[in-house]
């Protein structure tokens, strides 16, 4: 058996070990990265930057712990950018895991001194409306009346008791929507209902899996920006000048990509070499 043939029948558990090493090692080596944010990431950052101080934004979370490593850094980045700009933030989610992860993100943000010192108050500067089943239909309903869709916030306080919600009756009182989604219902639902039907400008962050499918919405400006996967999250951290897990994970990501590319090339060489031998 030749070298390449032996390689083809390699136990895949050896490959598993190699990829684990490729992912873990860079975590221990501190890198100083220089980022080149994609135009799509810049689009999201810039459109939030241009919002007038004091306007209300909705940040919606459609993701779960399984996709949190990609999305959570984006959520944290968005909270930071919005709080720094003095925007009023309405959190919600069309997945039941979304609001819980948003709470976790809030806690993480408030651990930082800068944000602790802002003295932001629940109900005044931000609220969490929680989850509602029904996907896009919830957004449609919010277009006419937010309290019909969300009579209370996540923990049961009626919306009337939250000062932030005083001037916010429906989507036309919202200046911008930021949607962070890992699947369905998610960004397409927000584009179709909030943007196309109620004309609220929006941008999104999504898992890398769904990013390529959302690019058509960027060209038509249905989305003013898009963060795609961990790269998008790291871009956002770079743009908001607050490094976090996105940038911390990127070196591991680099090495793993390189290893996988090498695997594919080696595998293909082996494939063509053995095939030619077979033909002879």
């Amino acid at each position: 058996m030749g070298f390449f043939q032996r390689m083809m029948v390699l136990d895949r558990r050896i490959v598993f070990v190699l990829i684990a090493v490729a992912v873990v090692t860079p975590l221990f080596i501190p890198f100083r990265l220089k980022m080149h944010p994609t135009p799509a990431s810049r689009g999201l950052y810039d459109s939030v930057r241009r919002l007038p101080r004091g306007s209300t934004v909705i940040i919606s979370g459609e993701y779960d712990p399984g996709t949190a490593p990609e999305i959570q850094p984006m959520m944290i980045g968005a909270l930071k950018q919005c709080f720094r700009k003095g925007l009023k933030v309405i959190l919600m989610g069309l997945w039941p895991q979304g609001p819980a992860l948003e709470e976790q993100a809030l806690q993480e943000v408030f651990q930082e001194r800068e944000f602790k010192e802002m003295g932001l108050r629940y109900g005044q500067d931000y609220v969490n409306l929680g989850f509602k089943s029904g996907g896009g239909a919830v957004i449609q309903s919010m277009g006419t009346s937010i309290p019909v869709a969300f009579p209370t916030d996540m923990t049961g306080t009626p919306l009337g008791k939250l000062p932030l919600m005083e001037g916010v009756h429906n989507l036309s009182d919202v200046a911008f929507v930021l949607d962070f989604s890992a699947g369905d219902p998610g960004t397409p639902a927000w584009v179709m209902f909030a943007h196309d039907r109620f004309h609220v400008p929006m941008a999104a962050g999504c898992t890398a899996v769904s990013a390529p499918m959302l690019y058509p919405y960027l060209q038509t400006k249905q989305l003013s920006g898009l963060l795609g996967g961990l790269k998008g999250a790291a871009d956002y951290e770079w743009l908001t000048k607050s490094p976090g897990k996105g940038m911390q994970y990127l070196p591991s990501q680099s090495v793993a990509h390189l290893v996988i590319v090498i695997f594919i090339i080696l595998g293909n060489i082996a494939f063509f070499v053995t095939k030619r031998k077979g033909e002879r």
Binding site: R13, F16, I19, A20, V23, V24, L27, F28, G66, T67, A68, P69, E70, P96, Q97, P99, G130, F131, K132, S133, G136, A137, Q140, F150, P151, T152, M154, G156, P188, V191, M192, F193, D196, R197, T207, A208, V209, A211, P212, M213, P216, Q219, T220, Q222, G228, G229, L230, K231, K245, Q248, Y249, S252, Q253, A256, H257, I260
Partner: protein, 199 residues
């Protein structure tokens, strides 16, 4: 190493799932069964506290009788579990299907057909526009089934499949990126939160 019992439980469960890589084994199956049960419970509690309670129960309590049909249809949905009256659940299913169909008809036509078509109507004055228009047109021709792919049409379909392959390549790269990110997240948890080797 962590002294938090929660972190230990989380770490053991993580290792239980990862043991599948060696082979399918009881540890993996136990961890997975816990996952299935806990996940169902999470959804259940959220439905009760974030939907049924505020949207149905509290509305009915406030005398908003027009929410009653929703409650009735909802309970009818659960009849599916009882074979004798299972057919009643179709009323509720029909309501959901009808709503979905009505919405989808308009939404997809507007957002994914008309707006996309409008976005493609651009002058041929830049390389980007040319690529976009050629890609959309030939891609649509590839998925056109009423004519044989011969001659001009065949050529166009061939160009279309190249575009589709490039976009699948992008999807491939992005999907690999997503999977790796999730692994990094888990590894970071094990080495930082649990073992405390990383900061």
């Amino acid at each position: 190493m962590s002294t938090d019992i929660g972190v230990w439980i989380a770490a053991l469960l993580t290792l239980g799932i990862l043991s599948f890589l060696y082979k399918d084994n009881p540890f993996y199956k136990v961890a997975e069964s816990i996952f299935i049960g806990v996940s169902a419970a999470y959804w259940f509690v959220y439905m009760i506290y974030n939907v049924i309670k505020p949207n149905l129960y509290e509305n009915l309590q406030a005398g908003h009788w027009w929410y009653a049909p929703a409650g009735i249809l909802g309970v009818m949905m659960l009849f599916r579990l009882i074979p004798k009256v299972g057919w009643l659940s179709r009323w509720a299913i029909a309501f959901m299907i009808g709503t979905g169909a009505g919405f989808n008809f308009i939404l997809y036509l507007q957002s994914n057909v008309m707006k996309q078509m409008r976005g493609t109507l651009a002058p041929l004055n830049s390389l980007g526009n040319v690529i976009m228009i050629v890609g959309v047109v030939t891609g649509l021709i590839y998925f056109f089934f009423s004519a044989e792919h011969k001659g001009l049409l065949g050529g166009a379909a061939k160009v279309g499949i190249w575009f589709i392959m490039v976009s699948f390549g992008a999807s491939f790269g992005y999907t690999v990126m997503a999977r790796v990110s999730l692994l990094i997240g888990r590894m970071h948890f094990l080495f930082s939160d649990w073992l405390g080797l990383l900061h």
